[in-house]
């Protein structure tokens, strides 16, 4: 009798343990552009893949995705669909998805919804919001740019002056001016996130005007990097993703959005039963923002020191960067 009970108990525990170990954690993500955009969407996508690898692959973390989802009602349907399929976490990676998250989250109280970039959790217990303090890395890039520019002319090639495209540049300008107020910064906005040809022309125009350092954001910025490469001797500072691979000798540093620590925390919290209610901001301090120095570019030691000092100053709050 006793031994039978023990065997049954053992079998139950074994099933539970094995079952729990066998059932993968499931995350679904919706993005407004392609996973290959080398900017916003790619940053989240690579973070998810990195976390998946850490956890042990597909058997530990199952990821389903929908990209190029720029239509809001379609996104609402996608969020609702993934939630109803029983995903543990649904990530709505785009600021236009806010109202959809607000609509769907109450119907799925056991699902965690994370969305950004924004700071509103709608007061719901199962919603996280996240954003990136892009101006911080912008500031550091700006400090470096000011120290490295010989022509004292810096060019900004941006898409549209909104969102983190704007905040990054605002931080960059502050960084430049903290080193040398005489440096002139010219800005061009192409009016499109995807028009690479126009972005290339903008970069060439900046270069022709004498800029020897360029920066900017959006997926079309690959055109600016190409223009810098063409001309030679023009340096590039990137944001959102590590762009060193595109021009190994010219990219000095990129601000990288590293969502992995945020993802790890959200997963751990979900397992512990906390489904939301917090706003995550990627900052230099919490490691969500990293300045990735390109090993292929020989950065002078003094410049590196200044950059490190800036990072430290922003992290401990002694330097305040306005978005």
């Amino acid at each position: 009798m006793n031994s039978r009970r023990i065997v049954i108990a053992f079998a139950m525990i074994a099933t539970l343990v094995l079952g729990a170990a066998a059932a993968p954690f499931r995350i679904a993500v919706i993005m407004p552009s392609a996973t290959t955009d080398m900017a916003f969407s790619q940053s989240m996508w690579s973070a998810l893949l990195a976390v998946q690898k850490e956890m042990g692959g597909e058997s530990a973390l199952q990821i389903k995705y929908t990209d190029n989802m720029y239509n809001v009602p379609d996104a609402a349907a996608a969020i609702r669909d993934y939630a109803s399929q029983g995903f543990d976490i649904v990530i709505a990676h785009g600021s236009q998805y806010g109202s959809s998250v607000q609509d769907v989250a109450p119907d799925f109280p056991n699902t965690t919804f994370a969305w950004g970039t924004d700071v509103n959790t709608f007061g719901m217990p199962n919603v996280y919001a996240y954003t990136a303090a892009a101006e911080q890395g912008g500031y550091v890039n700006g400090v470096l740019a000011a120290l490295l520019s010989r022509s004292k002319k810096i060019g900004v090639t941006g898409p549209i002056e909104v969102g983190d495209a704007k905040t990054y540049i605002d931080g960059f300008v502050q960084g430049v001016q903290s080193v040398d107020k005489s440096i002139s910064i010219s800005k061009t906005w192409t009016g499109s996130f995807s028009d690479v040809a126009l972005m290339t022309a903008a970069a060439k125009t900046q270069i022709a005007n004498g800029a020897d350092i360029l920066t900017g954001s959006s997926q079309s910025v690959v055109g600016s990097i190409g223009a810098a490469k063409d001309k030679g001797g023009v340096l590039w500072f990137g944001t959102q993703a590590d762009q060193a691979s595109l021009a190994t000798k010219l990219v000095v540093a990129s601000q990288v959005y590293d969502w992995t620590s945020m993802l790890r925390e959200i997963i751990a919290q979900h397992r512990a039963g906390v489904l939301g209610g917090k706003v995550y901001t990627l900052t230099l301090d919490n490691g969500g923002l990293k300045v990735a120095f390109n090993p292929g570019y020989a950065l002078p030691a003094s410049a590196k020191q200044a950059a490190d000092a800036a990072i430290k100053g922003i992290s401990n709050g002694s330097i305040a960067v306005q978005p």
């Binding site: 407004p32 392609a34 389903k64 995705y65 929908t66 990209d67 190029n68 989802m69 720029y70 239509n71 809001v72 009602p73 379609d74 609402a76 349907a77 996608a78 609702r80 669909d81 993934y82 600021s95 236009q96 109202s99 609509d103 119907d107 970039t117 924004d118 700071v119 954003t131 549209i160 002056e161 909104v162 969102g163 704007k166 905040t167 009016g191 306005q322 978005p323």
Partner: protein, 377 residues
């Protein structure tokens, strides 16, 4: 135009609603086109490692498998129907309106500006005013190419393509500055979106916990109105006459340039209405990407509907169904959404190749021309 020619125009263009055999054929051929396209697409799916049968099961189930799916189909059908009605009117005057993307934007901008600037006024005042403003703004954006074509013979394909881009930049300008949500400015996020539309100006939801809104009813009612306009009013008759045979219409004293401009203006108005309805019905704020490509998919829907306002109703529902199902398919078999775009493109290619409309349309034009010529002898 003699009275016999007039009655020939009337008779010949009463539309497929009263010709059941043609109606069935018009419905069957596009369906055959869709099936053929899906068969070809199945090859691509298989190459990507997805099971075509699972995929197509999701395609069908996605829209029909749940209440939410059904309402989503109708949610998508609404702007398709509205844009399509405008395209229909323009096509009847033999004008192709590819400016709907820009007209939708203008309609959304004007329509959103109304409740945003008067947030304390009641809904029964704001909603009709917003719709009127949206229609007017879209109509303006159609009027400009229309008058340029009528008075200065500036080709409408050129002017509408240019005006689409101008509208996009206008929206960028407004969303970056004057219309940016003050909350976003305060929080330092600077997102390219307007403040939320005050709730009393939202179109009422028809089914709770779904996105289906009263805009659908408006669209269906307008489809009937457009039918009556085109077939039961003098103005509508003149538009159709101009489209069928501009020379004969001109001899009969119909002002051809005026009707061309009018048709583009009306087409713009309906596209603008689609814009404002999307904003106050679904999205509840102005943001980037609000057109969602309806300016182009509306053209496809119009043709699926045989360029007839009443035929457009089932066509818009069918096409909306296809779009919703395609998204569901993407989620089910995890193929990249770009494949879905390619498949939709194939469907449009195959269905347009079913060609029945072009043939019957051309046949009608020629028949009317011949009858006119015979009557004149």
């Amino acid at each position: 135009m003699s009275s016999s020619e007039r009655s020939a125009v009337k008779a010949e263009t009463r539309g497929p609603v009263f010709d059941w055999a043609k109606l069935v054929l018009n419905g069957a051929l596009p369906l055959a086109g869709v099936v053929m396209a899906l068969a070809v697409a199945g090859v691509f799916l298989a190459l990507l490692g997805a099971n075509p049968l699972t995929a197509y099961a999701a395609l069908v189930a996605g829209s029909l498998g749940s209440t939410f799916g059904l309402t989503q189909t109708l949610v998508k059908a609404t702007p398709l129907l509205l844009v399509g009605l405008g395209i229909c009117i323009a096509f009847r005057a033999n004008v192709i309106n590819i400016g709907a993307e820009g007209q939708i934007i203008l309609g959304a901008l004007a329509g959103a500006a109304v409740p945003l600037s008067m947030p304390t006024l009641p809904g029964w005042f704001l909603i009709p005013l917003a719709c009127a403003a949206g229609f007017a703004a879209g109509a303006l954006w159609g009027f400009v190419p229309g008058i340029l074509k009528a008075r200065m013979r500036v080709n409408e394909i050129l002017s509408t393509i240019m005006m689409n881009a101008i509208a996009q930049q206008l929206m960028n300008f407004l969303l970056q500055g004057p219309m940016m949500d003050p909350e976003n400015v305060r929080q330092g996020t600077f997102l390219a979106q307007s403040a939320r539309i005050p709730t009393q100006a939202w179109l009422p939801r028809l089914v709770p916990r779904t996105l289906l809104h009263a805009g659908l009813i408006l669209a269906v009612v307008l489809a009937v109105v457009v039918y009556i306009f085109l077939w039961r009013t003098t103005v509508g008759y003149e538009i159709r006459a101009v489209g069928l045979n501009p020379q004969a219409s001109s001899y009969a004293g119909i002002d051809v340039p005026f009707n061309v401009a009018l048709s583009l203006t009306l087409a713009g108005g309906f596209a603008g209405l689609a814009g404002v309805v999307e904003v106050i019905g679904v999205q509840h704020r102005l943001m980037e990407g609000l057109t969602s490509g309806y300016g182009f998919t509306g053209i496809v829907a119009a043709l699926l509907g045989g360029l007839h306002p009443l035929g457009l109703i089932p066509a818009a529902v069918f096409f909306g169904d296809l779009l919703v199902g395609a998204d569901k398919m993407q989620r089910a078999v995890q193929v990249p959404s770009s494949l879905v775009t390619a498949i939709l493109g194939m469907i449009v290619l195959f269905v347009s190749g079913a060609g029945i409309w072009a043939r019957t349309w051309a046949a009608r034009r020629l028949a009317v021309g011949r009858r006119g010529a015979e009557a004149r002898r």
